[in-house]
């Protein structure tokens, strides 16, 4: 079974600075998707970024980018120019691409605080 590990329960960053959240995963599959979700205090899950394992190029969405290291099974999220609205719980997630009804497996989450 796949597992996802986020080793940083809490992180903090100064406004306008850059922060990196770590995620590692374990799988025997070669084709899969990785996601970062943001959960603000409202609890509504928001997709931040998605990476397809067969793509070598790291995904980028505005201030959010990932460092995808397939061999190392590492998928970190970098937030540049941090804003107060970035404060939230961030979850890393894995989904197999080989089964259409496959489960989405989450890590434990990292609580990000942005200091003004």
């Amino acid at each position: 079974a796949q597992t996802v590990t986020q080793s940083q329960p809490e992180m903090s960053v100064q406004e306008a600075e850059t922060v990196t959240l770590s995620c590692t995963y374990d799988t025997s599959e070669s084709d899969y998707y990785l996601f970062w979700y943001k959960q603000p205090p409202s609890r509504q899950m928001i997709l931040v970024i998605r990476q397809e394992a067969y793509k070598q190029q790291n995904a980028t969405e505005n201030r959010f980018s990932v460092n995808f290291q397939k061999a190392a099974k590492s998928f970190s999220l970098k937030i540049s120019d941090s804003q107060l609205g970035d404060a939230a719980m961030y979850f890393c997630a894995y989904r197999s691409a080989t089964t259409s009804g496959s489960r989405l497996t989450f890590g434990e989450g990292t609580q990000l605080t942005v200091n003004p």
């Binding site: 079974a1 986020q6 329960p9 899969y32 998707y33 996601f35 409202s42 609890r43 509504q44 899950m45 997709l47 998605r50 397809e52 979850f91 989904r95 197999s96 691409a97 080989t98 089964t99 259409s100 009804g101 496959s102 489960r103 989405l104 497996t105 989450f106 890590g107 434990e108 989450g109």
Partner: protein, 115 residues
């Protein structure tokens, strides 16, 4: 906009009661999921369904069952609620098919307290 609606946002139930948590999506999605979220444990999968009347156990199915009689509705059932089932429950849905990178949509969560 896709909507995943969890009918009950906040519930307080007594130990031993039967509890139903309902989730409805309006985009004809094949796949639906139930998770529970607890501090320090992230989201843990209870059950998921990839079609009507089809279900698979997730990582923590004990004490729970599910029902999917119609495509748009996925119900989570606590046959006999216990205090260790106090948690937030999240429902999610996504299209099926070969593209597992489909966007997954989440409901707003149901806070269940068992006393």
């Amino acid at each position: 906009d896709v909507k995943v609606t969890q009918s009950s946002r906040y519930l307080v139930k007594r130990t031993g009661e039967k509890v139903f948590l309902e989730c409805v999506q309006d985009m004809d999605h094949e796949n639906m999921f139930w998770y529970r979220q607890d501090p320090g444990l992230g989201l843990r999968l209870i059950y998921f369904s990839y079609d009507v009347k089809m279900k698979e156990k997730g990582d923590i199915p004990e004490g729970y069952s599910v029902s999917r009689e119609k495509k748009e509705r996925f119900s989570l059932i606590l046959e006999s609620a216990s205090t260790n089932q106090t948690s937030m429950y999240l429902c999610a849905s996504t299209r099926g098919g070969a593209y597992s990178g489909n966007t997954i949509y989440f409901g707003e969560g149901s806070w269940l307290t068992v006393v």
